[in-house]
Amino acid sequence: MDALIAPKLKLDRVGKRFALKPGEAVAAVEDFSLDVRQGEFLVIVGPSGCGKTTVLNLLAGLELPTSGSLSIDTHPITGPGADRGVMFQDYALFPWRTVVGNIEYGLVYGPAGRNLSAAQRQARVRHYVDLVGLRGSEQKYPHQLSGGMRQRVALARLMANEPEVLLMDEPLAALDAQTRLILQDELLRIWGQDRPAHERRTVVFITHAIDEAVFLADRVAVMTSHPGKLKALLDVPLPRPRSDRTRGDSQFQALAQHIWSLIRDEAYRATVA
């Protein structure tokens, strides 16, 4: 049945080369093909430097491929746009705007808020402030917030624009281990993991943490590096909603081990070589 429905995002033989010096180029990504389904939570995992961020940047339209093509709903991706929201690794919060100022930015200055009255916009902002659990901190500046809180602001800002696709580049990387686990739960809750697929937004999530990938994903795309290629595309059949108990599940452990075995040699080479 899935084959009849067009994928939300399509990457078709995508390649990206960077020129280091005249005549010398390195392929960050090569021959990468992938279909991302509507409403799925797809995680791309791989060792450092394998091109995961490049794939995300290509999907976001922040960079253009040197070969192949990317499309959303069969429309080619030629640049950034409000239909594909991005959450960056260091949150990219505007330091001169408060929490509310950051969350409403895309609605005030971008196309996402074009048809909203000021009252509707404020209501939406308030909704997402509550959803991510930041009630009471609306007037604070980013420098006054902890890492976990900044991540929530970035998430609320991303979601307030209600993009069709959420692209997230290692958003939990800068947090300590405990906050990470809590925010993984939060992320799934906010995304709406207990709703049917056609009501959920499509997520492409980058991480280098394997257990995080298995916990969050419907499918995991495993990448190798030098050049960045798709090594494997695995289903994660763990039932939703997922919780702490899922983490102890034997199927969870087996999947994580399997992915690690796929990456391990690469990671070792990258660290030692």
């Binding site: 976001a60 339209g61 922040l62 640049g79 950034p80 746009g81 409000a82 239909d83 594909r84 929201g85 991005v86 960056f88 260091d90 990219a92 505007f94 330091p95 001169w96 705007r97 930015y105 895309g106 200055y109 971008g110 196309p111 996402a112 500046y141 980013p142 420098h143 624009n161």
Partner: protein, 258 residues
């Protein structure tokens, strides 16, 4: 007041007090009619303030500084924004900026007098010239220092380029611009004193007004060293005041900088 604060204050005033004391002792032991003494300086200060001469002179000088400063900012900030965002503009304008930067405002003064006379127009022009460089240089640096990730974040929300300039680049560069403005105000104040001094020296003590010219008159015409010292203290105090003012302005404009 606890003893830690007391000793801190004591150490802060110790050396200045000792120096003033030495000054007083020396001039009391070797009295000469011309030498400034703490007593005469204080008396001169009271006289100059009460007669309104000092406040008037300060007001004149400060007025010119603000005029030139505003002019410089009005040109330098937009230019700096343009240079910071567009490589082509920077490449073509930068040679001019860098060539004139080592030429101090005071060196241009003779030309300014030639073209605009010895009055306020020349003074304001000199101040504007002096203030221009710190502002434009710091604006360009500020724009370049804006985190590129912030620009990409705005792009991924579908915001157009001009709005990104207005809502991301300008606020992002503001801390640097603020530093440039603060430096420029200090430079402007030094420039106006120099200009008024030089004009006073060359135009025979007439026409320019302001604290710098007062100082020269006290040197060349009435030979009042005490009054010169009062003017110098005024120069220092105004410089401090202007700096504090701009720090406060920067803190108010940018509540997010901690």
């Amino acid at each position: 007041m606890n003893s830690a604060a007391e000793s801190r204050i004591a150490r802060a005033v110790a050396v200045p007090v000792i120096l003033i004391g030495v000054w007083y002792a020396w001039t009391t032991l070797h009295p000469t009619p011309r030498t400034p003494t703490p007593g005469r300086v204080a008396a001169a200060a009271v006289d100059m303030i009460a007669s309104g001469d000092l406040p008037l002179g300060v007001l004149q000088s400060v007025g010119r500084v603000f005029g030139g400063f505003a002019l410089a900012a009005a040109i330098a900030i937009p230019l700096g924004l343009a240079m910071g965002t567009r490589r082509a503009i920077e490449r073509n304008v930068d040679p001019l900026v860098e060539s004139f930067r080592p030429i101090a405002a005071i060196a241009i003064l003779p030309l300014a007098i030639l073209w605009l006379g010895t009055g306020t127009a020349a003074a304001v022009t000199i101040v504007a010239y002096a203030a221009f460089f710190p502002i434009v240089i710091n604006t360009v640096a500020g724009v370049k220092r804006v985190d590129s990730t912030l620009l990409r974040a705005a792009a991924t929300m579908g915001v157009d380029r001009l709005t990104i300039l207005r809502t991301v680049i300008v606020p992002g560069a503001l801390p640097s611009i603020g530093v440039g403005l603060r430096i420029a105000l200090g430079v402007a104040w030094t420039a106006i004193i120099a200009a008024e001094l030089a004009v006073g020296a060359k135009a025979g003590g007439g026409g320019s007004g302001g604290v710098g010219q007062m100082m020269f008159v006290f040197y060349a015409y009435s030979i009042e060293l005490n009054r010169i010292v009062v003017c110098m203290i005024a120069v220092g105090l105004v410089a401090l005041l202007l700096d504090r003012m701009l720090r406060a302005l920067n803190a108010w404009l940018m509540p997010w900088t901690h």
